[in-house]
Symmetry: C2
Subunit: 327 residues, 2 copies
């Protein structure tokens, strides 16, 4: 039986994808498990968004769906050509709610300077879906001299994050649970394509990019380690976390490393360019709090964390259901 | 408030799209309301599939989702480059059901000779979706000498259909209602890309292609008439309907013109090529019952039907909820 854990972005999700999907839909592009499929000079990506509540501090379902797809294209270095959005609406949904979400998607599209070029709308009877689900897909064009891929990661590379982690997941959780600090915890949901386009000049100095969404930085780091077949060593004290977000994590008893982000990227870059890349990130409003958080070492494909307490522990893929319906 | 009628593919769907979406997501490609958005030499399309029941005579949700997207690309003359599939699963869904649907999608992909290159899986709690929804998207490449568009339709053109109508919608309805003739009513769900590729040689002789899905032939003919700003005159006795499907339509009190198809196309072609096109369609297994069903006349954008009784009536867009969750 399918459980909520299968959708949490951790070990169960991985196993579901491998045993149920990859075994049947045989495709090298699908099996690569990149943020977008790479098809010659094109990239294609899709994601279903089922976040609850639909509106949360810092964003809503419409903004989330648009940004998520723009970001997945950006992570393989593609420039968006067009975005498609398919809406599943529950009978009885108010037109006002729908209008708000569509307006928010339109504004995010303008911010990203992309166009929603194709769409679909289905309505299901009351009780057959929870309000509204949006699936966005995007096609992008790749650049010849800029193709960040986890397989390019090399020992000695630096690991950067473009800003504070765990804001999105904690904003949604706080809104869902009616937590009183909710006003202070804001989702980071934002389109990263312009930030990434500034990195294009670093060419192959940018080894790999990934947006740490479901499963958080822990899942992303593990995926990078596996794809590179190397060890990623992270410095816990260097990983930026907003105080209000950290408080929320503590209240919920959740490790910020496991919490979804929707406007951040992890970049693995060569040691030579790391300082310039950090500066370039910091020069952009979406990269103000960019930080060097670790480095790549030879060794087994795994993630190690040097903690604030001075110990070193292994960071695994989240195991079960941590935060359902966060995106 | 959103009603089921907003999802039925008729007048309410049209109004929903215009007032809620096109007014906010301003895009010429989106406003064209073609089966796929045309972006230079690329086509992009998306559709959410929420059919109930998930398995019906002749197909299931997986086959439907794959074929629907392949067909939307084919209708603008594009050759598929890659398909993306996003699954929303309800907690408690059996792995066996999921496996069957994924396997069926894989087989349909093989039949169409396309690859599912990108995917996503989300799980929502029990009661938050009805079993499983799949959204498929596709990117395709256009051919310079073959770009069927409704705007190319000219008075005197012939209107063809590639086979019997109303089979898909009636198969789903029969399965849903447990109708005893259900064994005899089979969905036509099939990938039309190979059939369409045989038409490429007719170049601009093929004015427009459209797959008459939600809203059926009635909706498709109206959309073509509006886009062309011409009158489409259909000959009711010439429109092929399987006897078992006709019986089902009569039992449900539904006009076959309003019922969804998932493996048929409507082609508007120049008078000079019509006989050759019909022959070409009939030479392919998916076009065996191709027929000439009408012609394009000067006049207001509308659809007229010469009935079996010798009268002529106007065929309008379906008005409300006829068949919810048929695709």
């Amino acid at each position: 039986m399918i459980t909520l854990g299968h959708g949490a972005g951790g070990m169960l999700t991985r196993r579901l994808i491998e045993t149920r999907f990859l075994s049947r839909l045989k495709s090298p592009a699908l099996s690569s498990l990149l943020d977008s499929a790479v098809l010659g000079d094109l990239a294609l990506t899709t994601d279903a968004y089922v976040v609850s509540p639909m509106i949360f501090p810092g964003g809503d379902l419409g903004r989330l769906a648009l940004c998520g797809t723009v970001n997945d294209l950006a992570m393989v270095g593609a420039t968006p050509v067009g975005i498609a959005a398919a809406f599943i609406l529950e009978e009885g949904l108010s037109e006002e709610t729908l209008d708000g979400v569509v307006q928010s998607m339109a504004e995010a599209a303008e911010e990203a300077r992309v166009e929603v070029v194709a769409g679909d709308t289905k309505v299901v009877p009351r009780g057959a879906c929870d309000g509204m689900f949006i699936t966005t897909s995007g096609v992008g064009r790749l650049h010849e001299s800029f193709s960040p891929r986890p397989s390019a990661i090399t020992p000695g590379d630096a690991i950067l994050v473009s800003g504070t982690i765990a804001d999105h997941g904690m904003a949604v959780m706080s809104a869902r649970e009616g937590l009183s600090i909710s006003g202070a915890v804001m989702s980071d949901v934002a389109p990263l394509n312009h930030l990434v386009s500034r990195l294009r000049g670093f060419s192959s100095g940018i080894r790999a990019l990934r947006d740490p969404t479901r499963g958080g930085l822990a899942a992303t780091a593990n995926e990078l380690a596996e794809a590179a077949e190397l060890t990623l060593v992270l410095q816990e004290p260097a990983i930026p976390v907003r105080p209000s977000t950290r408080t929320a994590c503590e209240l919920f008893g959740i490790d910020p490393l496991h919490v979804a982000n929707e406007g951040k990227l992890v970049a693995v870059v060569s040691d030579e360019v790391k300082n310039d890349v950090i500066q370039t990130l910091r020069d952009h409003p979406l990269g103000r709090h960019a930080a060097l958080i670790g480095e790549v070492a030879p060794g087994k494909p795994r993630v190690e964390l040097d903690t604030a307490l001075g110990t070193r522990r292994v960071v695994r893929l989240p195991q079960g259901e941590i935060l359902p319906r966060i995106c």
